[in-house]
C-alpha cells in the first residue's frame, strides 16, 4: 500500500508554481537515502537517478510536478485588503468564500466580495470574477496589512485533509499524488536504472519539465499526474472525461500531447495481464508535462498515467485510493516494460 501519511504531508505543503521550496525539501528528505544521484537545477527541479538491477537499453525519465495552483498578492488596498491574481487555472467559482493562507508565515485570510443580501438578482446567479474578489486578513489599513504580508506573497487554499473509507479529500492532489508515486518508486527495487524528475511550474506552462527533459535527455518518459474527472450528476456521460473509481487513467491524447501509440497499447496490455483496473479519457481535455517532455530535444516517446480526480484546481479535490494504487502498480510495471521496447 502507498504511504498515505506521506501523501498527507505532501498535500498539506504550501507550494504554488514558482514557490515549491517546501515541497522540494520534504521530497529530498524522503528520497536522499535511496537516490544514487540527486541534484537541484537552476529552476528548482529535483533530478534523481536510481539504479536498478540492470542497465537499460533505453533511458527512462519518470516525472511529476511539485507545484499546485493558488494565488499571488498583487496589491494591498488602503483598507488593508489584498488584491490577487491566479497562479494556474482556477475558475471564478472556486475562489469565493474560501479560507486561504498568505505568505510564508501562513497568515490566515478569507476570500470575499460584496455580500449576498445586497446583490442584484442577476448577480446572485453567478460567481463574481476573481478580479473583483479581495482577501481579508483582518487588517484595517495598508500599514497594518504590510506588517504581515507583501505584494508577491503566495496564497494557498486552507483545506481539510481527509483519507477515510477509500477516498482522499484534499487540496493539491494534482500533483502531490504524482510526487508520492515517484518517491515510492525510488524507495522500491527497480529492474533498470531510471531517472526521475520532480518539476516546478507545471501549472504556469509546463516550464520545469521542459528544462528537466533537456538536462536528463531521456529516450522515453512516463508522466504521473492527477487528471480531471467530471463524473458529477449534472455531467452527461460523454462529458465525464473519466471516472473516480474507474481505475488508472491511460490517455491517448490530450490538449498537449498525442501519446506514443505503442506505449498506450502496452499499458492496456500490462493492465490486463496484471489485473489492474484501467480506463481512458473520453474527452480531449487538459494537458500536462508530457507536452513539454515529448517535444524535448529530438523527441521523447511519452506516456502519461493519471489518477482520476474530481474538482481539480479547486480548494478540495477528491480521489480514490484504489485508483491511486492502480496507478502505482501500473507505473511500476510499465516502467520496466517500455525500457525494453
Amino acid at each position: 500500500m502507498l504511504d498515505y501519511d506521506l501523501l498527507k504531508r505532501l498535500c498539506t505543503c504550501c507550494g504554488i508554481s514558482g514557490d515549491e521550496g517546501q515541497v522540494r525539501s520534504l521530497i529530498i528528505n524522503e528520497i536522499r537515502p535511496f537516490a544514487d544521484e540527486l541534484s537541484v537545477d537552476n529552476l528548482g527541479n529535483i533530478l534523481v537517478l536510481k539504479k536498478g538491477r540492470k542497465r537499460p537499453g533505453k533511458k527512462l525519465l519518470i516525472s511529476a510536478h511539485m507545484d499546485e495552483v493558488g494565488f499571488i498578492v498583487t496589491h494591498i488596498t488602503g483598507d488593508g485588503l489584498l488584491k490577487f491574481d491566479c497562479v494556474g487555472g482556477i475558475n471564478d467559482s472556486a475562489a469565493f468564500s474560501k479560507n486561504v493562507f498568505v505568505g510564508k508565515d501562513k497568515v490566515p485570510g478569507v476570500v470575499c466580495a460584496k455580500p449576498l443580501h445586497l446583490l442584484k438578482a442577476d448577480e446572485k446567479k453567478k460567481n463574481p470574477p476573481i478580479k473583483d474578489l479581495l482577501i481579508d486578513i483582518g487588517a484595517e489599513s495598508l500599514d497594518e496589512a504590510a506588517m504581515y504580508v507583501s505584494c508577491g506573497d503566495s496564497i494557498v487554499f486552507d483545506t481539510m485533509y481527509e483519507n477515510k473509507d477509500g477516498r482522499v479529500i484534499s487540496k493539491a492532489i494534482d500533483d502531490r499524488f504524482g510526487c508520492l508515486v515517484l518517491i515510492e518508486l525510488i524507495k522500491s527495487e527497480l529492474e533498470y536504472d531510471t531517472w526521475f524528475s520532480f518539476v516546478v511550474q507545471e501549472e504556469v506552462g509546463l516550464r520545469g519539465a521542459k528544462c528537466a527533459a533537456f538536462t536528463v535527455a531521456p529516450d522515453c518518459a512516463l508522466v504521473i499526474e492527477a487528471t480531471t474527472a467530471a463524473d458529477v450528476p449534472y455531467s452527461e456521460e460523454e462529458n465525464c472525461v473519466c471516472h473516480v473509481g474507474g481505475g488508472a487513467v491511460v490517455t491517448f491524447m490530450d490538449r498537449s500531447t498525442i501519446y506514443d501509440r505503442e506505449y498506450y497499447l502496452t499499458a492496456w496490455e500490462m493492465a490486463r495481464e496484471l489485473g489492474i483496473k484501467v480506463q481512458t479519457k473520453t474527452r480531449i481535455a487538459g494537458g500536462n508535462d508530457a507536452g513539454a517532455i515529448h517535444s524535448s530535444r529530438g523527441g521523447v516517446r511519452t506516456l502519461a498515467l493519471s489518477v482520476p480526480c474530481r474538482y481539480l484546481h479547486a480548494g478540495a479535490s477528491l480521489a480514490s485510493t484504489e485508483d491511486m494504487e492502480a496507478v502505482y502498480a501500473l507505473a511500476k510495471a510499465v516502467a520496466g516494460k517500455i525500457q525494453t521496447l
Binding site: 468564500s97 474560501k98 466580495a113 443580501h117 484595517e140 486552507d158 480531471t228 458529477v232 473516480v244
Partner: protein, 336 residues
C-alpha cells in the same frame, strides 16, 4: 469571549435542529441559569428574580444556515437544498459535513476549469460528493439530514475571528458573556435569555418564545452588515466600531434611546443602522407579539454574511456584552 464563541461555532444546530446545541449552552451557563427548551426548539436560560413585575427578554437566534438532504442517486451522490438564505456563490468546491447517523465529509460538485468557465448557481443544482459507494452513503445519510459547510474557526489579525455560523453564534456568545457578567449581581428583574430557533427560515422561534414568555420588553442581538466593499455606509457599521444600535419605526424609541444613553455612559463607541421599515431580525416578530413588546436591536458587525467565511471582532462582542449587562442592571428602559 474567544473560548465561548469557539464552543458555539459547532458544526451543529442548522435551523430546525437547534436543540443539538443544548449541551453547549448547559456547559457554558448551566451553573448560573435555569435552562429549558420548548416545542419550537428554543433554548431558554432564565436568570434573576421572579418576584418583580419586570421581565426582560434578550434574544439571539442560535440556528445557522445550512443544507438539507433531499435525494441520493444510484451512484451515491447526495442532492441537497438550502436551509435559510445560504450564499450560493460560496458552494462550488466547498467541503461539507453531512450530519447523518455518522458524520460524512463531502465536496460540493463543481466543474473544473479545463472543461467549463464556471458553474451555474441554482438552489436546484446542489450535489454533494462523498466519494463513497451508494450502499455506504445510504447507510450513513438519510433524507432530511442536515449538512453544514465546513469552515475552521480561524483567528485573523486584530482580535477578529473568521468562521461559518458567526451569524448568529456571535450574538449567542454576547448573551453567554452577559450572563456570566451578571452571575454575582442581584438582578432587579427577571431575565430570559432566549437562544431562538429558525430565524433563518422565518423567525419562528422568536414568535413562539415571545408569546410564551410574555416579556415587558426585549432586546435582540443579531449580526449586522460590517462595512466592506459594496456595502453602503448607511447600511453598515465598521468592524471594531464597538457595535451597532438599530433605529427603526418598528422598534421602541424608549429602548433604543436607553441603549444609546447607556453606551454613552460606558464611553462606548458604536454605529447606527437606520431602517425605514422592519429590521429583518427577530425584533420584527417579538415587537408585535401578543399586545406588543417594546423592543430594541443591537448588532455585532459582520463581514461576508451567509458565507463560510464570516468575520467579526471579539472587541465588539465584549462591548455589547457590557452594554447588555448595564441595560439589565438598570431594569431595562421603562421603569414604571
Amino acid at each position: 469571549m474567544k473560548t465561548i464563541l469557539k464552543k458555539l461555532c459547532a458544526d451543529r444546530g442548522v435551523s430546525g435542529s437547534e436543540t443539538e446545541l443544548l449541551p453547549v449552552i448547559r456547559d457554558l451557563i448551566g451553573d448560573i441559569a435555569q435552562i429549558t427548551t420548548d416545542n419550537s426548539g428554543n433554548i431558554i436560560a432564565s436568570m434573576g428574580t421572579h418576584n418583580t413585575d419586570k421581565h426582560i427578554l434578550i434574544d439571539a437566534h442560535i440556528d445557522r444556515i445550512g443544507l438539507t438532504v433531499t435525494y441520493i442517486n444510484d451512484k451515491g451522490f447526495v442532492k441537497a437544498e438550502p436551509v435559510g438564505g445560504i450564499d450560493l456563490r460560496s458552494l462550488p468546491g466547498s467541503t461539507v459535513k453531512i450530519l447523518g447517523s455518522e458524520e460524512t465529509t463531502g465536496v460540493i460538485c463543481t466543474m473544473p476549469p479545463h472543461l467549463s468557465d464556471g458553474d451555474e448557481l441554482s438552489r436546484d443544482r446542489i450535489w454533494i460528493d462523498t466519494g463513497l459507494p451508494a450502499e455506504q452513503v445510504k447507510k450513513q445519510v438519510s433524507l432530511g439530514d442536515k449538512a453544514v459547510l465546513c469552515s475552521s474557526f480561524r483567528e485573523l489579525i486584530g482580535n477578529k475571528i473568521a468562521s461559518s455560523a458567526l451569524d448568529n453564534r456571535s450574538g449567542c456568545a454576547v448573551l453567554i458573556r452577559c450572563a456570566r457578567l451578571l452571575e454575582n449581581e442581584t438582578l432587579p428583574c427577571r431575565v430570559s435569555f432566549v437562544f431562538s430557533s429558525q430565524e433563518e427560515t422565518g423567525e419562528l422561534g422568536a414568535g413562539t418564545s415571545a408569546f410564551s414568555l410574555e416579556p415587558d420588553e426585549a432586546v435582540v442581538i443579531d449580526v449586522g452588515f460590517a462595512s466592506q466593499e459594496g456595502v453602503p455606509p448607511e447600511k453598515s457599521g465598521k468592524l471594531g466600531c464597538g457595535g451597532i444600535i438599530s433605529i427603526s419605526p418598528v422598534l421602541s424609541k424608549q429602548v433604543t434611546d436607553k441603549l444609546i444613553d447607556l453606551a454613552a455612559r460606558l464611553s462606548m463607541k458604536y454605529d447606527f443602522e437606520v431602517c425605514g421599515g422592519s429590521t429583518g431580525t427577530n425584533a420584527d416578530r417579538i415587537s408585535a407579539s401578543r399586545g406588543g413588546v417594546r423592543t430594541g436591536v443591537i448588532s455585532v458587525p459582520c463581514k461576508n454574511m451567509h458565507t463560510t467565511t464570516e468575520i467579526v471582532s471579539l472587541d465588539d462582542m465584549e462591548r455589547l456584552s457590557e452594554l447588555l449587562k448595564l441595560y439589565i442592571m438598570e431594569g431595562g428602559a421603562c421603569n414604571a
